[in-house]
């Protein structure tokens, strides 16, 4: 009887310790995976930035956007997603003036990830230089017809809602006001 009680006590006392050990081993694994993903994402940044420049976004604009991202301590994954989102937006609607300033402002507002990508896409749709120019030779119609064609699996209905919200805000609000202010600066610098 005493032995049984002792055995039960030993098991009860040992169990939490065992559980803790299991936790200790799984957490570093997660950390390692996150670390690896971050390292690999960082490795892609030069290529993504170059792709954006090759598609007509000014060097200075790309630099400003990246500096803003770094300044806001964006993880490499987030910065990579930002550049990818911008590249898709450029493909759809052409580059915009003051891309860097726009990204900087949105980051300052706290936009990240999907929200930021949606804002970038909306801004490009609103004032992309290639609207109705770049798309036509390829047999593509106006942007409205394209719709969320480029939407990746991550872009669900919720993102569409976000895009709509931003589109409503940009024309009269922060987007246009700021853009015009910096447009003059950009031209004089070139």
């Amino acid at each position: 009887m005493n032995r049984s009680i002792l055995t039960v006590l030993v098991v009860l006392l040992a169990a939490p310790g065992l559980r803790a050990q299991e936790g200790d081993t799984s957490e570093p694994k997660q950390d390692k995976a996150a670390d690896r993903d971050e390292i690999l994402a960082a490795l892609e940044l030069p290529k993504k930035a170059q792709a954006l420049r090759n598609k007509g976004v000014e060097k200075a604009e790309v630099r400003e956007a990246l500096r803003a991202a770094r300044g806001k301590k964006l993880k490499a994954r987030q910065a990579r997603d930002l550049l990818e989102g911008a590249e898709e937006a450029v493909d759809e609607s052409g580059p915009i003036d003051n891309f860097g300033a726009f990204v900087k402002a949105r980051l300052a507002e706290g936009l990240r990830g999907r929200e930021l990508a949606a804002a970038i896409r909306a801004e490009h749709q609103a004032r992309g230089k290639g609207k109705g120019k770049k798309g036509e030779p390829k047999g593509q119609g106006p942007d409205k017809e394209k719709g969320p064609k480029k939407a990746k699996p991550k872009a669900g209905p919720a993102e569409d809602d976000e895009t709509a919200e931003v589109e409503e805000e940009s024309p009269g609000g922060r987007g246009s006001g700021q853009g015009q202010g910096q447009r003059g600066r950009g031209r004089s610098g070139r």
Binding site: K32, D35, R36, E38, I39, L40, A42, L43, L45, P46, K47, K48, A49, Q50, R53, E58, K59, A60, V62, R63, L66, R67, A69, R70, K75, A76, A79, G189
Partner: protein, 89 residues
């Protein structure tokens, strides 16, 4: 006398114009690609060959993940460095 003044003015204008065109660019042109870019490309190649060992590879080269991320940001910001990085990988 007048001709000398005119010639001086033309020369000065040309010199100022040349100076502006050299210094007023995006900041990328004309800068040599530093050694750290080629070193980073070599590390990147190692990482790509063994992605699961990424952290260990960085450690071997005396870098943390944050330092690596900062370096990649820095390279990405510069068009010439990005070209050199991609070419050297």
């Amino acid at each position: 006398m007048t001709r000398t003044i005119v010639m001086s003015l033309v020369l000065a204008t040309l010199l100022v114009g040349f100076g502006c065109s050299q210094g007023g660019g995006s900041g990328d042109s004309g800068t040599a690609v530093p050694e750290k870019v080629t070193q980073a490309a070599a590390i990147a190649a190692e990482i790509e060959a063994s992605p699961d060992q990424a952290a260990a590879i960085l450690q071997k080269h005396g870098m943390t993940t944050d330092e690596w991320t900062a370096l990649m940001y820095e390279i990405a910001e510069n068009a010439e460095w990005s070209d050199a990085f991609e070419a050297a990988r």
